[in-house]
């Protein structure tokens, strides 16, 4: 549950003060712990042993201001409402750092991103190949400050990525993608199969890398929200809210109660429509097409409500730094309840239909199992994490918007198969309806936007939101004249893609689509 003061990090510190030499708490949301480069690995391992989850790892270029590249590891603990950011410098003269990926697999991709984008070598990384920039890129470090965003690179040639060969009698590699038959985003899946069972899967993402993190550095901070909303279209509200929370924390303002409530409603509506569509789509992937037709219909009803509430089906342009862009009248507040009152029984009858289909259950149960240990090692979060026994939810553990004041249950299952990922979604839809109702019922008239003062330079802040996929983090450092010096975006897909590799092993290749759909990760959010 939600204890009033959860201070697990403080306890750890009081036990071993010498391990945390420089400790600074900001905004009541984050703790920055500065350590010398050599001590980072030891402390990180210790934090993981204490039960912390590594949420993200990233770096920034401070060579001009501080003469180094600080790198960050973001830790989270179920019993502390703050994030702990471990910060260690990397010297530009010797652009390398000791990799933690061998001991903490959760930072595997993140450290390789640092390597690709900043040119800092992750020494001792078990798989130091490129991840964010494909193999045919020239040797450039796009997130360094001395790399102008206008740079036009010559056309690339050669292999994007060389896959590891798989050997053995009757073992075959099946390349799938990056162009797929359906209307989905690009990603390459390289299966090694022996007949039908999958032995191993190699993933290749970042086909739609857009340099969004670099782009944030060019924009006035208050315009960044538009960019944030387009990081991953189906998570527009969540990414927008996370970005605004970071800006608001850096500016040191509190947003009005009414804005908190309205944001909560929009965030939950986003969760509801995505989950409903996913439940239908998962049924569709096992050939139960009727469920998909109803799932799409239910999604459409919420999208139409979004349009009535915000003028945008994906609720874009509604959340802004300081609160929300415009107010709702009484008739709009009534519409929320009207739509939900019709929607809820509709959803229940869809679930009855799916649950009464034995052939569907047979396909979902024990398919694509991700064990709790695998999920913990890989730092899996969100729906996929909760289906595998990882009890984390930013709404409950690090309350934001109006979540501190509503009661809701976080569903957690142990089995970690496709069926449990469906059940987590079903249960969350029901909880979300409850949240929307209780927040909408308590919504009082009042100001809906706080004025945003000019952003002070050189402030760090973190915005954390539980998007419908899982934990979304936006970390910013403000720069001069209202711009950002760095904006790090962490989409939950980034944590969860490597888990897909584990979940499909031993399954038959014909079941891959439904396993993939049960994770439903964002390519765009991963690639940024």
């Amino acid at each position: 549950m939600r204890p009033g003061a959860r201070r697990r990090f403080d306890e750890m510190r009081s036990g071993a003060a010498d391990l945390f030499p420089r400790w600074r708490e900001e905004h009541g949301l984050e703790i920055y712990v500065d350590v010398p480069a050599a001590e980072a690995a030891g402390l990180a391992r210790r934090l993981v042993e204490e039960g912390c989850r590594v949420a993200a790892a990233f770096a920034e270029d401070r060579t001009e201001a501080q003469g180094c590249f600080p790198r960050y590891y973001v830790f989270e603990h179920a019993e502390d409402s703050r994030y702990l950011l471990l910060r260690a410098p990397v010297a530009p003269e010797e652009p390398a750092f000791a990799s933690l990926a061998a001991g903490i697999p959760a930072v595997n991709w993140a450290e390789r991103e640092i390597q690709d984008w900043f040119g800092l070598v992750a020494e001792g990384h078990p798989n130091p190949r490129r991840v964010a920039l494909h193999d045919n890129w020239p040797d450039v470090n796009p997130l360094r400050k001395n790399f102008p965003i206008e740079t036009v690179l010559p056309p690339f040639e050669g292999e994007r990525h060389i896959y590891r060969p798989t050997l053995g009698e009757g073992v075959l590699q099946i390349p799938v993608g990056p162009i797929h038959a359906g209307i989905i985003e690009p990603g390459h899946f390289n299966f090694s199969v022996a007949g039908e069972p999958i032995l191993y899967l190699q993933l290749r993402m970042f086909y739609v890398h857009k340099g969004i993190e670099k782009r944030f550095e060019q924009l006035p901070a208050r315009h960044g929200v538009y960019l944030a909303e387009s990081i991953s279209g189906d998570s527009s509200v969540s990414h927008g809210a996370a970005f605004c929370q970071a800006i608001e924390a850096a500016a040191g303002i509190d947003i009005p109660e009414r804005a908190r409530g309205m944001r909560t409603i929009l965030l939950e509506l986003e969760r509801i429509y995505n989950h409903a569509a996913d439940i239908g789509a998962i049924a569709n992937d096992v050939g139960f097409v009727v469920a998909n037709a109803h799932g799409s219909r239910l999604r459409e009803a919420i999208l139409a409500l979004n349009e009535e509430l915000t003028g945008s089906r994906l609720s874009r342009g509604m959340i802004c730094p300081g609160g929300v862009r415009w107010d709702w009248g009484r008739e709009q507040e009534v519409r929320i309840e009207e739509v939900l009152a019709r929607w809820e029984p509709d959803f229940s009858s869809l679930m009855e239909m799916i649950e009464s289909s034995d052939s569907t259950r047979d396909r979902l149960e024990r398919t694509g199992t991700l064990t709790r240990k695998q999920a913990r090692d890989l730092g899996v979060c969100g729906v996929a994490g909760r289906a595998s026994g990882i009890d984390c939810d930013v709404r409950r553990d690090h309350p934001y918007a109006a979540y501190g004041g509503v009661e809701f249950r976080v569903p957690v299952y142990e089995e970690g198969d496709v069926l449990r990922r469906v059940q987590v979604r079903v249960e969350e839809v029901r909880q979300s309806i409850g949240i929307v109702r209780s927040v909408a019922g308590a919504l009082e008239r009042g100001p809906y936007r706080a004025p945003l003062p000019p952003l002070p330079p050189d402030r760090c802040a973190l915005g954390a939101v539980e998007g419908w996929r899982g934990e979304i983090l936006h970390w910013i450092r403000t720069g001069a004249d209202g711009r950002l010096e760095r904006c790090k975006i962490k989409d939950p897909s980034l944590n969860n893609w490597p888990a897909l590799v584990e979940a499909v092993q031993g399954n038959i290749i014909a079941d891959f689509p439904v396993i993939n759909k049960s994770f439903n990760l964002s390519y765009s959010g991963t690639d940024r």
Binding site: H180, G287, A293, S357, S359
Partner: protein, 312 residues
């Protein structure tokens, strides 16, 4: 002369009716799924579009890739002409009976599997291997089920079987006939690539069976293959409705008789299409490794049917 009319008439009927049956099932499914559907005539529009388009042929393909659509179309149409549709006298019945039907269809499938492999795409190989695995079970089930009726008629010639059945209108209630019908229905679902065996509407390459084999085909070749698939479906459905319920079938080839039996034929096909659409809508696809189990059920049913044909 009657023969010539029969051959031409049934040939034309098959070509024209087969896409309509596919379109009807598709439209019915769409309605059952609360969708509007593309209309009954969509398969015709697809065929005419594909026939007018250009083709992309993989660099790795040999002559087999190009021969496959023609062999498939030819064998399927020949098989169709051996089956009585609107007259108990199948146009080419003197050339062969049910064994010829089964093996003509098998020859087509063999080439289709080769065509899938020949394309060089990993999906083609995937689809071909799956198709051959399933057909190893579907084929004997089909044969045993038809043999049940053949034993009662004392002939494997389909026209002779239908003539024998026409005399005994309640014969389909015999246990052997019911079991054989059930077995053949499962074979129909499997052979036409429908849910729960295969999903004809999916875009997911990794789950496909029939569609995976033909992924690399385009333009007129694809049109021939799709047309053949529709005809094969019509032939199998005809086998089901006319061998087990020959009621309404004209004995020879007369214009009036053909018209009446055409009406009956359409009505029987309609009922069977509804059954297929309902099965497809109410079920999820089976896990690939469970499909052989379903086909084994068909095999056991038809074996039981054959045994009970001797017992009762």
């Amino acid at each position: 002369m009657g023969h010539a009319i029969g051959v031409v008439g049934q040939f034309g009927l098959m070509l024209l009716l087969a896409p309509l049956v596919s379109g009807f099932i598709r439209q019915l499914k769409a309605r059952l799924q609360t969708r509007r559907g593309p209309g009954l005539l969509q398969p015709y529009r697809n065929l005419s579009k594909l026939l007018r388009k250009g083709m992309v042929i993989p660099d790795t393909a040999s002559w087999i890739f190009g021969a496959t659509p023609h062999v498939l179309f030819g064998t399927t149409v020949l098989a169709g002409l051996l089956v009585p549709m609107v007259s108990a006298e199948a146009p080419l019945s003197m050339f062969g009976g049910v064994l010829a039907v089964v093996y003509l269809l098998a020859l087509g499938r063999f080439f289709l599997a080769l065509g899938g492999l020949d394309s060089g795409s990993p999906f083609g190989g995937l689809g071909s291997s799956r198709e051959m695995t399933l057909s190893a079970l579907a084929e004997p089930a089909l044969m045993l089920a038809v043999f049940t009726v053949a034993i009662a008629a004392g002939s494997t010639n389909l026209s002779a079987m239908v003539h024998a059945a026409l005399g005994q209108s309640w014969r389909f209630l015999a246990p052997s006939q019911l079991l054989a019908f059930a077995a053949l229905f499962i074979v129909l679902i499997a052979e036409t690539g429908r849910i729960p065996v295969d999903n004809p509407a999916t875009h997911l390459e990794l789950t496909m069976i029939h569609e995976a084999m033909i992924l690399e085909y385009s333009g007129p070749y694809l049109a021939w293959i799709e047309w053949s698939a529709a005809i094969k479906q019509l032939v199998l459905m005809t086998l089901l409705v006319n061998v087990f319920f020959p009621y309404g079938l004209a004995a020879g080839w007369t214009p009036a008789g053909a018209l009446v039996s055409l009406g009956w034929f359409a009505a029987k096909l309609l009922l069977l299409s509804v059954a297929v659409a309902i099965v497809e809508t109410t079920n999820a696809k089976l896990r690939l490794f469970r499909v052989p189990e379903l086909l084994s059920v068909a095999l056991v049913l038809s074996a039981l049917a054959l045994m009970s044909a001797f017992l009762f």
